[in-house]
Every structure is written in C-alpha cells, then in structure tokens.
Symmetry: C2
Subunit: 406 residues, 2 copies
C-alpha cells in the first residue's frame, strides 16, 4: 500500500470543512461521561419516562398500517410528509388557538432536524441571531455549525424579557425562543411578554423561531397560546412527537408561513428526501385513535407527581441560603437551580459523584451562547426518568455536597 503523502503513515488526513472539523469532546461531554455510570442517579437526561410509552397502541397501529396500506408505508413518499399526519397536527394547533391547515405543516425527522433546517435556511457565517440566555443546548449546537453571531436576549426570573430588547436586535435573521416550559429553566413567558415580543419582532424586523416541545405537558392550566397567535406572519413553530408519543420515532414538524415552508421543503429534499413513511403512517394511526385525549393525561400525571417530589425534596433538603434558588415549573421536564456566585455546579456534581449516593445533572454553562463561564453557578435538573425514591435520595445527596461549598 502506498503511504499517505501528507502525514507519512498509512492513515491519511481527511480534508474536513470548517464546520466538519471535529471539535473533540467538550467540557460538558466529559462531565456527562463521568455521570454515565450505571450506579448514578441521573437528573441529567431529557429522556421522557418510558412508563409513558403507548406500546399496545403502537403495536396495533403498526399492524393496521401494514395490513391496510403496507405498500405505501414502505415506499418513498412526499417531501412535506403524510397528508393525514399533517391534518391531525393542524387540527390540534387549531384547537389550541392558532388556525392551521395541513398545508401549513412540514414533517421533519425530530425537532433537532427542524433546528438544523432553521440554521441552514437563515444563517450565513457572521449572521446575527437572537437567543435566550440560557437557551436550549441542542439548538446552539445546530446553529453554531453555520457560524452565527449570537445576541443574548436579557432574561429575569420570569424568563426572557422583551422590554429590554433594543436596536441590537434589528435585522437579526431570527430570534430563537422556547416560551413554554423552557429547556433548561422550566419557565413560561406570560401573555403580556408574548405580545411585547411580537411587537419587537415587527419593530426590529426579525422572525421568531418558536420551539414548543413541552407545551402539551402542563400540570395545571393550559399554557398561553403559541407565538403564532400573537405574530402569525413572522412565527415559525417547531413541534415534536418525542415528548407526547415517543422519541424513538424521530418525528417533528414545522408550522410556518408559506414563504418559509416552501424554502424548508426545498432544503429538506437535499437533506434526506423526506421523513420515514412508515413511522409517519403508524403515528397518524396512533393519533387518530385518540392518543392525545387518552394518553397525554397519563403522561402529565406522571410528570406532575415527579415534579412535586423533586420540588418538595428541594424545599426540605437544600441549604437555606438567599442565593440558592430554583424555578417552580408548571409543566415540562426541568428545574433550573442557581447556587451562590463562586460555587461551580460542575464541582458540586463531581463531589456527589464521589459520594455514596452519586448524582448526575447538567452544569448550566452548557446553555449559554456567550460567556458560559459567567454562569458556572447554575445547573439543570430533570425529574422525569428517575423514580420518586431516587429523586429524594438524589436531591439529598446534592444538598449535602453543596453544603461543603458554602
């Protein structure tokens, strides 16, 4: 075998693009790897509870699809996605206050693909985009591949505050927001702030990419309507089946004005032709059989009770200190904790991992576009995958570790 000319061994060096050049394991990945031991109580994941998966419904739907429409289920299909599935999604959106037709919906392979698609549709290297502070980690990963300049939207204890958005927002390609049960904070922005955000989008000429994976997972009252109710002409809403049905299907959707939807379909064709026909037909069947009505209340019950267990444990065990605070979400999967300035949540986590009751969670710095090291005193806890008794033991263990830093 001829050896490589560039590195003088038999393993030549690939000519990667700028975006493709591996970044290597990030600090956060290293931390999460530490917490991957099977004995660790994990507050880290955003995985839905498998107790909530509708196995019998999926099995019956899969049989039905092959029996009644098998050849279509296994064939290539349309770029936009299955018409029946798009119609069900549109009906649901309409019922929640945003009139929507099947034509307004593009099916994608999970909402991570929707984020990647948004990045590629809107971001050139150096383009300005607006993001919450903190914001969803997976969105940052997708956006960063396209090289944007991120401007952080100021936030407070009630989430992002559009009153503080000014000239720096003008002409941004889009603002990426998760107004309902946000990942990572669990916060929901109010109707008043939604209205104000719509005004700012018009005033400063930016579009809204509204990510709404958790809107169905409310524990009490329904959350405020989608940003499409306040700013229909500039809002692109991203949704997913991962939290209400199952993540293993990798099904998500985009609802947007026609100009964006047409461009999205053109891009989607080059990205993967279309999303799997089979999983779309199975999902449409499951949903048409009343999954939202029958199944979602059960998932909400599980999450509501687990959230309560974690909040109660935090109230009981966390050290009483004016600078130790956490959010009290009314839906979704996450609680956001703030420790006193100077306490590094990664160090607290390492301490718990070395204890008799090791606990993993996600250090908060991972969720900031700019200057993450200014936010090392924050972290995200998820309560959905861990059984109640382990939630209590885990919170107690973190509280013990934290005390040694005060």
């Amino acid at each position: 075998m001829t050896t490589c000319k560039t590195c003088c061994s038999s393993t030549p060096v690939p000519h990667f693009s700028k975006a493709g050049t591996p970044k290597g394991d990030s600090f956060i990945q290293q931390i999460l790897a530490l917490a991957a031991r099977p004995d660790v109580i994990s507050f880290g994941g955003g995985l839905p509870s498998p107790e909530g998966f509708p196995l019998a419904e999926v099995k019956a739907a899969a049989d039905y699809v092959i029996d009644t429409d098998g050849k279509r289920a296994l064939q290539y299909s349309s770029l936009k996605g299955d018409p029946a599935l798009r119609a069900i999604i549109a009906e649901r959106e309409t019922a929640r206050g945003c009139p929507t037709t099947a034509d307004d919906v593009q099916i994608v392979s999970g909402s991570q693909q929707a984020l990647d698609l948004m990045a590629r549709l809107f971001i050139d290297p150096g383009s300005k985009i607006l993001v919450e502070s903190p914001t969803y980690l997976g969105a940052l990963q997708a956006f960063m591949l396209c090289g944007p300049e991120c401007v952080e939207i100021p936030t407070d204890a009630f989430g992002m505050n559009p009153d503080l958005m000014g000239e720096e927002c003008r002409g941004a390609r889009f603002a990426y927001v998760m107004p309902t049960f946000q990942n990572p904070t669990g916060l929901t922005i109010s109707v008043e702030r939604r209205k104000k955000l719509a005004e700012k989008a018009r005033e400063y000429d930016f579009w809204l990419v509204e990510d709404n994976p958790y809107g169905e997972l409310y524990y009490g009252d329904e959350p405020p309507a989608s940003m499409r109710a306040f700013c229909p002409e500039r809002t692109i809403t991203l949704g997913t089946m991962s939290k209400v049905l199952a993540p293993g299907f990798r099904l998500g959707y985009i609802i947007a004005p026609k100009s964006v939807l047409d461009a999205a379909a053109e891009m989607k064709q080059a990205m993967d032709l279309h999303t799997a026909t089979y999983t779309q037909l199975v999902t449409a069947r499951v949903l048409s059989q009343g999954l939202f009505e029958e199944h979602l209340p059960k998932v909400r019950d599980i999450y509501r009770s687990q959230a309560k267990v974690m909040l109660d444990a935090l109230d009981e065990y966390m050290p009483k200190h004016p600078e130790i605070t956490w959010t009290r979400p009314e839906g979704g999967m996450f609680i956001w904790l703030t420790f006193p300035k100077g306490v590094d949540a990664s160090e607290v986590m390492k301490k718990t991992l070395a204890s008799d009751v090791p606990v993993g969670f996600v250090p908060g710095e991972a969720f900031y576009a700019n200057n993450p090291k200014d936010h090392v005193n924050t972290c995200r806890f998820s309560f959905v995958t861990v059984p109640a008794e382990k939630i209590v033991a885990g919170v107690k263990s973190v509280a013990e570790a934290l005390k040694t830093f005060l």
Copy 2:
C-alpha cells in the same frame, strides 16, 4: 397588526441565508411535473417495485420488537445507531470481501442524509470536489448547498476512466463515485479501473466517497468488490436499505475510517440526534431473519426480467441509427440513452407526453455538474416500477416520437 417595514404589506420577507434562498422550480422539476399525470407511463422514478416489499416480514418484526424490546424501541438511542443493526451490516460487508466491524458503521436516515453529511463534513464554499460525468442528481443537490467547485471525471462507454485523472484532481476534498450499476448510466467500472482509481486517490491526495445503493441488485454474477477492498484507508462507503428492504424506512449507513466516522457522528448529533430507534430495531429483526438470503433473490428476479423486457423493446423498436445508443446494465435500476447530437431529450419527452401513449423519463442534463446544456441529447430510463406490457408500449411510444426528430 403592524405591517412589515421592509415590504409594506403584512407578509414580511424572511432573511434567508445564501444556501436557504429558494431556487424555485428547476427546469427538471417542471419537466417532471409534466410527467406526473396518472395516465403517463413513468420511466422517470427511481422507486423500487413495491411488489418486492416484504410486508409479512416487516409486520412480524414490528410485533416482535414491541413485544420483546418495546420501551427501548420507542426511546432515544445512540448516535451511531443500533449495535445489532450495525453488526449485521458489518457481517454483510465482510462477507463481500471488506473486513468490517460494527464500530466501522454509522447509521443514517437514508443515503441522501449520508450525502448531505459528506457535503457538510468536507465542503467549504469554493472547495474542489470530483464527480463523475454524469453523476447522481441527488448527490449534486446535496453538494451544491455547500458551494463546491465541481471537477468532472472523464467517462467513456465503460464509465469513469481514472487513467484520465491528472493534476486537476490534486487536493480535492473527495471524489464522489458510484462504481457499481451507476445512477444514471447503469454502468459498472472494472476491477482494473478500481485499482487505478485507488492509485490516483493516493497520488493526488483525495478521499473517495463511494455510493453503493445498487450493489446487491445484480442480475448475473456479483459485481467487483467495494472501493474499500482497493483503498481502505481513503474510502467512505455509503449504503442504504432503500433498495434491498424498503425506502419508506429511510435507513442508510456510512462505513469509513475512524477519523471520518468520529466527525460524522459529531455532525449527525447536530443534524437530528440519531436515526429512528424503532425502524432500526425492526430492520435489524427483518435482516436477522434471513431477508438478504430469502428476499433479495426475488427482488433480483423482478428487476432482471424487467430490464430484459426494456432492453428487448429498445432493440426492437428504437430507430436504427449509429448515434442512438443505450447502456446494457447487469444490475441496478437504470438504462442510459444517448440520442444524436442536436436532438433534445426534453423535446422528445414533450412529444411523447402529447401522444396517445404518454411516457415520462428524466432528461440527462439533470445529471451533469457543469455545462448541462451540452448533454441535452441524453436521458435516463428506469424499468423497475412499470409492468412489462407498459414497458414495451412506453418504449415504442418514445421510439415513434424520436423518429420525428431524425
């Protein structure tokens, strides 16, 4: 509602990126739209014959997966893909002459996603890549989003000819080749040319992206081994389940040296987290039950007999003319036709579409990276979706139309 500042109406203009700005319907899309009428005999599609879909096997496998491993099937899973599926793919590659382990395999959402991933991993704006002339349309679509400069590899009646590759190839990010039953020509390059291509890749320091969707669909003898047998250290092989199982699953894979595979996994995470768990487990079950051994011979039989019908019809009905030629594929799904210089295949197609026996096919210019208008006298016929009697009637109709141009 406040009106938009930039266009003075209530429909604001999205701030698209360069890649995201819609190109509008291409000439080719307009032509294909003409041929989408239900009465048209379509030689256009690359859709596999649904007669070949293993419906009973898929149904049994889906039931088995939910019954035995349902919670895992519906949950998030690993970036690289299901270990059992990767192991089966690796075994298959090993049996075909390229020693492969599950660790060498990355699962993707169809081979179109693999092409997009290659584009993003390797191409910066202006990067040089090498492509066959003609080459696969879907690959060009994916690559073009990243703005490469395409250098065409000279081809002859036996496919691409590496003897003619020179200094212009040095330092290309990669050469994209489909050496076996190529789309669009149906041609397979010989063992000698494969060896020569490996030498050229080393001499001029480029990598090989080998697309192999049709390798299993041989009608007689097995085709030559993958480029990985000739140039393992520089070859990235893309495979798909779309032709041997079903396209509706959108399952493909990448086999590559570790340096590329690690970078691909990092990129894949930002693109869509991972490919659907459910379809991976169902596919692994179908394959482990002997699909390759029992099912593939049936698919090959269907395609072999349909190819023969089309080739016989071409021999019988096409005008005898020294400049009217076509390829005689020994596998795959396509025949490539060349008409006399000056005859535009799109015009021939329009003529057949206006006739009593309307026929659609794909004008050849769509398959050229550079100067497509130099190749308007070519076209691609597929024989796999259309029943035998319609193949004969369709060929006869094209032949009649073509005669009026001579």
